[in-house]
């Protein structure tokens, strides 16, 4: 029984695939190579099943150090390929038993891959996160008469705080929607993603928008300028752009077996 599996990174056009993958090393430090069938090719690497087999993966993925460095290595290969042409990233932990199985995939889904590659050609993914400062968002309408300490005053203040809170959430939701709508105009496709765990922010800023956009390479500067303009315009909200990414979030609803 083989002790190696085939880790798959991405799908590219078969033409010039080998040249594009030249010199790359993958998640196990292995050389990245190409399996090509007809018009499409997969960038793959042989990895020891001792670490990348199903049981080992299950275990290793729980290890943040392992996960972090493997994710970086996986992304490094895909990002490098993205520099020289369209690429379809494969979800991390797609592992085959041998090259023949990879070949079957290309044989069965070559046309789907070719059209998906055409859909991302000349485009890049840019992520945007919006962090809100609750106080600034609400404005500086600090309650008058806060000095009073009677029971009634306390209850009134408490009530006002609660409705302030609701109002803040509502303002934040509106701002997020407006931001997303505005930025979507600069993109050929757009997605809102779930916001990360609130405890991640660990400071006054709380994430109100985690979205990502497929942007024409030629429009990327304009997109970034639009983000900057919104950043200046919106009180209490700070925007952060990530990327350019390979089109991780825009590989369509491609799912193949």
């Amino acid at each position: 029984m083989s002790t190696e599996g085939v880790w798959a990174y991405a799908i590219v056009a078969a033409e010039s695939a080998a040249r594009r993958a030249e010199g790359l090393t993958g998640v196990a430090g292995e050389p990245v190579r190409i399996v090509a069938v007809n018009d499409t090719a997969a960038a793959v690497g042989s990895v020891p099943l001792e670490y990348f087999g199903e049981e080992a993966l299950r275990h290793n993925l729980e290890d943040l150090d392992w996960l972090g460095s493997t994710a970086r290595a996986h992304d490094r290969v895909i990002s490098h390929l993205a520099r020289s042409g369209p690429v379809l990233p494969l979800r991390m932990t797609t592992v085959y038993l041998n090259d023949e199985r990879v070949g079957n995939l290309l044989m069965n889904h070559g046309d789907d891959f070719t059209s998906a590659l055409a859909a991302v050609a000349g485009r890049q993914e840019l992520g945007v996160k919006a962090y809100a400062d609750q106080k600034a968002l609400r404005g500086t309408s600090d309650s008058p008469g806060a000095g009073k300490t009677s029971g009634t005053a306390y209850l009134l203040r408490r009530k006002r705080e609660l409705s302030d809170q609701e109002e803040t959430y509502s303002i934040a939701a509106q701002s997020a929607r407006r931001l997303h709508d505005t930025l979507s105009r600069y993109a050929v496709d757009a997605k809102r993603k779930p916001v990360s765990d609130q405890s991640l922010s660990g400071r006054a800023g709380w994430i109100v928008l985690n979205s990502t956009y497929l942007v024409e390479d030629s429009q990327a500067d304009e997109f970034r300028r639009a983000v900057e303009a919104l950043n200046d315009e919106l009180v209490g909200i700070e925007l952060e752009v990530t990327g350019p990414w390979p089109p991780y979030s825009f590989t369509g609803d491609l799912a193949a077996s």
Partner: protein, 87 residues
């Protein structure tokens, strides 16, 4: 800012930060949380021979969130630089 905080704790995963963010630069600085958000939740889903099923990956992401959250609580929140490297 989450990204920055994660950077600080997980600095050993970070390549040296370069200012040239616009380029397809392999050394570009990436927050782990944003990266995992893409490599584990994005990309073409293909059932390879050994691929963990999506449900499994979701589980991983969930347990990862727990991990990262606990990372968050270790961190020195006070005075974290507001380094919006992206804009």
């Amino acid at each position: 800012m989450a990204a920055v905080l994660v950077h600080r704790r997980l600095g050993r995963f970070m390549s040296a930060a370069l200012p040239a963010e616009q380029e397809w630069d392999n050394n570009r600085e990436i927050a782990l949380v944003d990266l995992l958000d893409r490599v584990l939740a994005g990309g073409v889903v293909i059932s390879g021979d050994i691929t963990l099923s999506i449900a499994d990956v979701d589980m991983v992401v969930i347990s990862l969130r727990t991990l990262v959250s606990s990372v968050g609580s270790w961190m020195d929140v006070q005075g974290a630089p507001h380094g919006s490297a992206g804009t």
